[in-house]
Amino acid sequence: MALRLLGVLPARRSGLVLYNVVVLALLAWLSLAALGLAYSLLWLYEGVLGVGEGLVVSARGFSPMTALISRSEVESRLAGIEGLSVEYYLIAPVLHGDKLLFLRNTEEDLSGECILVGVDLARDLRIEPGTSMLFSSFFTGEVYELRVCGYTSGYLLVARYETVARIRGVTPGTYSYIVVKGSEESLEKALRALGAEPGRQRLAGFLVAMLNRVGNETRARVYRALTEAYIGGLGLQRDYIVYFAVGVALASVLGSVMIGLDTARRLSETLRVYRLLGASRRSLLAASAFFGLAMASTGFSLSLLLIGHFDLFRFRLLDYVLEPRLEAGPTVVVFAGLASLYTAGLEVGVRGEVD
């Protein structure tokens, strides 16, 4: 009998089914967008700088673009540790007109006045190799004319170290961040040498060691992301942002309880007929639970399609476009919240109608 009810509902009450799916999809879409944007924000600097893996060594500051670290200090600490490859990066914020761009050093053999322009940036600015560009240094306040010699990936400008250091106004041997790569064992040694305890951190993948000079001693703290390391300096913790985002996502799907209750009320006539035909209370509750889960699953699948096809929720941060970034864990949380809240509302409603 309950199975028959499940078969009848989509055919006879297609309007109600469609209404449920659309509303649930909309609520799930908004929840996923909120969570996705919060996660994108947490990985902002990694995206802007194009840092993908390794142990990133940086220093306290407002951002990786303003912090400075001495190459010799890191070199002396890492000396003697075998199996490490170290890359040194210096970032200079430059202004082109009123646009803020980031210039990074490269190991490539470029002449002093040559820069490579990120393809996305070149497309935006309509720049071709051979043209000259004027940049103002945010730190020195001076104007520099550089020639575009080719393209690189992303939204960055790339020049040789000496040019970047001159524009950044720093002495040679100073960098913004250093990327250390190697085996898990070598990285553990490197972390200890930098003055940090590896603890329970997973060394493979991505980690940030933030150096902080206290008197004559340099201490290092380990973080899971660059953004986390810098927002920590502003008094915000990554976990607060994650909890807040999950809270927002769950609050967005909270309305599904009312939708479940309302659906049960709209099905009251149908439920009464089935009750008269001899359907047991338990079978009707089981059928409504199946119906609830099916509606929530369909609505959630539709929301995944929506988030994949409509980039409505994205914002530009210093010309870097942030789009919602879906992570497996939070996605499951949203689905679990939607399915359980909606089904619970439906079950309570059906129980009321059947009794």
Binding site: V23, G97, V143, E145, I167, L234, V248, G255, D262
Partner: protein, 311 residues
């Protein structure tokens, strides 16, 4: 019985019987979230602790930007001192040298009306002279060297410069530029938040409609009693509708208030653990509240019609 009295009776009944709970559940999530999201701290507060931002930065663009702007151009020419002749790229600015260079902090006590700031390498190659000859468009000019800088381009500041008109050279304090950037980031964040909140509000329309319908259905007994006192059906419909709108508006106001209390309490409590910037409640929340009340008024009409029919 008058319309106002009927509305009063229905409102008191709704509150006494706790019917506001359903409406409150419907409006709480979108409006509380909107309040929290529109209370993010003012981004420019992040600049307070950073010194050295008062110095200006020299910006070159093809339109006037913020700060003081002067007409300018990028020119090619030759620079000569004694027997040394070098090719030079010159950023020419039509301005008073003592004013512009003083504000830029490149020179101290330079009182000439025109002058040249020469790249460090070139300054050394020319023998660190105090006067150079500059050839621009086959015309020879003589300028005093006001100073040197790390840039590779020469800076020529001359109030009588004629080769200008393509570019603008602007002086803008770094603090103002940084504040503008942070405001831009904040605006972008709030715009995205705004569209998200607005969509959430509309996504919650069926939820609010369902809760309002439940309220009207629960009032059947009271409506019959009011009808028996002689209130016309049309007035009865109007009084239920007005009562529902007032209840929804009160619930919306309550949701916003809860959001404000939540934000400031959290900020105060987290303040014991770490210094967190103070939240700033934006005026956009009033627009959000007005939109919500308008939407809830429309759903109230549909809910009344759904239960009572048109009269």
């Amino acid at each position: 019985m008058s319309l106002v009295a009927a509305v009063g009776v229905l409102l008191v009944t709704m509150i006494k019987r706790g019917l506001y709970t359903a409406v409150l559940i419907g409006v709480l999530a979108p409006l509380m979230l909107a309040t929290i999201l529109y209370s993010i701290p003012d981004a420019t507060n992040l600049l307070v602790d950073y010194t050295g931002l008062e110095k200006p930065v020299l910006l070159v663009a093809n339109k006037p930007l913020g700060g003081k702007c002067y007409p300018g151009n990028i020119l090619s020419g030759l620079v000569a001192a004694g027997d040394t002749v070098l090719e030079a790229r010159v950023l020419g600015v039509r301005a008073d040298a003592d004013t512009l260079l003083g504000e830029l902090g490149l020179t101290g006590g330079y009182n000439e009306r025109s002058g040249l700031v020469v790249p460090m390498d070139m300054y050394n190659a020319l023998g660190r002279v105090s006067t150079v000859k500059l050839v621009l468009n086959n015309t020879v000019h003589e300028y005093r060297v006001a100073g040197s800088w790390r840039a590779s381009t020469m800076l020529l500041v001359d109030p009588g410069l004629v080769e200008v008109g393509v570019l603008y050279v602007c002086l803008e304090p770094r603090s103002e530029y940084a504040a503008k950037l942070l405001e831009h980031v904040e605006d972008s964040l709030l715009a995205t938040t705004g569209s998200w909140v607005l969509l959430l509000l509309f996504a919650y329309t069926p939820v609010v409609y369902a809760s309002q319908r439940r309220v009207v259905e629960s009032l059947r007994g009271e409506l019959e009693a009011l009808y028996n006192t002689g209130l016309s059906v049309a007035r009865l419909f109007l009084s239920v509708y007005a009562g529902l709108v007032v209840l929804s508006a009160l619930a919306a106001l309550y949701a916003v208030s809860v959001g404000v209390v939540l934000v400031y309490t959290t900020w105060s409590l987290l303040g014991f653990i770490a210094p967190i910037p103070q939240p700033v409640l934006r005026s956009e929340i009033s627009f959000c509240l007005l939109t919500a009340v308008s939407v809830f008024s429309a759903t109230a009409l549909l809910a009344c019609r759904g239960v009572l029919g048109w009269h």
